[in-house]
Symmetry: C2
Subunit: 344 residues, 2 copies
Amino acid sequence: MSELRYNKLVDTWTVIAVERARRPHDYPVHVYEEHGDISTCPFEYGNEDKTPPEIFAIRDPNTKPNTPGWKVRVIPNKYPAFRIEETDQSDFYCIYDKKGGFGAHEVVVETPDHNRHIENFTVDEIFDILTAYKERIRSLYMDLRIKYVQVFKNHGKDAGKSLVHSHSQIIALSQIPKIPDTIVNQSRKHFQKTSRCLLCDEIKFEMEEGDRIVYENADFLAYCPYASLFPFQVRIVPKFHSKDFYTINEQQQRNLAEILQITVRKLHKSLVNPPFNMVIYTAPPTRDFPEKPDYFIGIDRFFHWFIDILPRIVIQAGFELGTGYLINPTPPEDAAKFLREVIL
Amino acid sequence: MSELRYNKLVDTWTVIAVERARRPHDYPVHVYEEHGDISTCPFEYGNEDKTPPEIFAIRDPNTKPNTPGWKVRVIPNKYPAFRIEETDQSDFYCIYDKKGGFGAHEVVVETPDHNRHIENFTVDEIFDILTAYKERIRSLYMDLRIKYVQVFKNHGKDAGKSLVHSHSQIIALSQIPKIPDTIVNQSRKHFQKTSRCLLCDEIKFEMEEGDRIVYENADFLAYCPYASLFPFQVRIVPKFHSKDFYTINEQQQRNLAEILQITVRKLHKSLVNPPFNMVIYTAPPTRDFPEKPDYFIGIDRFFHWFIDILPRIVIQAGFELGTGYLINPTPPEDAAKFLREVIL
């Protein structure tokens, strides 16, 4: 049983994930192996019974669920930080605020091939993974208790990847977490002042200026943000205004797959297979929030979905944890130039 | 020349530290060596000329500055993220907000002994290091352009330590960074509602409850916070209300040295020399803020200084970077029990 606990002093929530309860000698966590052992890997063809039953799969129509023949397979996480069986009730413990660990925690197995990683994926393969993300977000949003879905990928040990076989994760939460909430609030403030979308402004300026652009195609722009939190951070945004990642049409999805493939390959070649995290920021679903009645007014206009790719090539140390400011030793203009000039 | 750039979308600032400018092949940064080479270590007796001239030292009164004979030595960082020569001017670049890299970045060499680390320090040694922190904060606060001083220590490679020889760092900034600012605002809110100090309430409750206490002495309490952001996080707070770390008297400072020593040794023994960061949160100095005229009203009453020790034994992955929520696999009640039971 997990629970969320409110950290009042710094205004955020911690997930106490007791399913994963760890004693001192369990640390540091060393479950990652560079190649892993195929025979015991739960994400191989033939090992489908080593995972919980699949929730969604893109597979040969002549095959049955939980058997080989899939290209992408979504399953519940065996060690979930959030579970649908738990409560979403807000509660208190003496002077503290807490909340039940309701939610969902899923794993997207991106390929049946144990040794194939994202830098080798074809556009078609990435397209299929994006389909899985879209379908799962759409489906999870149908549960009215779910207030946000976070899709993310950990690539490499230093980015927190724990199983070698290429996968990403989806977590659904009973409240809008701190960073997406900040993005909503900051975008709303900008809109209330200017009647414009903050990211539309940024895209327009970046396309005029050009210095921080890494790559673009008909529908998407990849650039290193002006105040990049991480060196070589790349943001991928739709050039068209849209709040929901999961509503992209087939042509847009193909272009997104293409720009993701190019961006990842450029990072892979330039930084020599760096660990990175990928996170998708899409609008929270419109819900009835009696405690914030105006929260969603105008969100169609002011929220713009995007994807951040965050290379993990510097360590956040005491200064960063203490202040919340990050030190980035590579100006994004330089990072973008290096990445633009990578020939694939 | 560094600069601060405002990240409007997530409402924080990034430090673009160009002094450290890095090209793709400079990453990942591998400057750390387990023992380092004493002959080239700039923190050894006899190598004082390999660092910029000292700012402060606790040394044998018969010795001269920048020669051997010191016990603790404070010097400017050779690769500073902030410098006193730069501007503190708020500025803009087209649609973006930025600010000059004014500030200070100092290194506290904690011992002349290359192979001596914090878990071996005597109470007297820690007392001297605390004296250096106090003196430097007091002195830096005399510059009215300085709005906050962050003292921190990185212990171990995975906590971002880059030179083996035991040291900590002090960074002075021209604005109050995100996390201290949040702590001020959250503490003020609590005070405005209750007329009480948030941390005084927490201390009182934790002492009644007992479950999360690690250790205490006459002046200080060490406990694992209810919503610990990191597994085995330990907070050290003065039991007496005070907003300024640097005003502790000699007896209090001795007790602080003692509780720090015990806490670090318990973590060291329990988790087998874990990497950790230590950060001191002390009140920002009272300044004239025309843009926030009420900021400091009541701060004597509502701000309570504290020290956090943050073991770095789990990796923040895509979920944590994406949401701003941390997953802590060890409930603080369990962590405190393990640490209480460690016999030194």
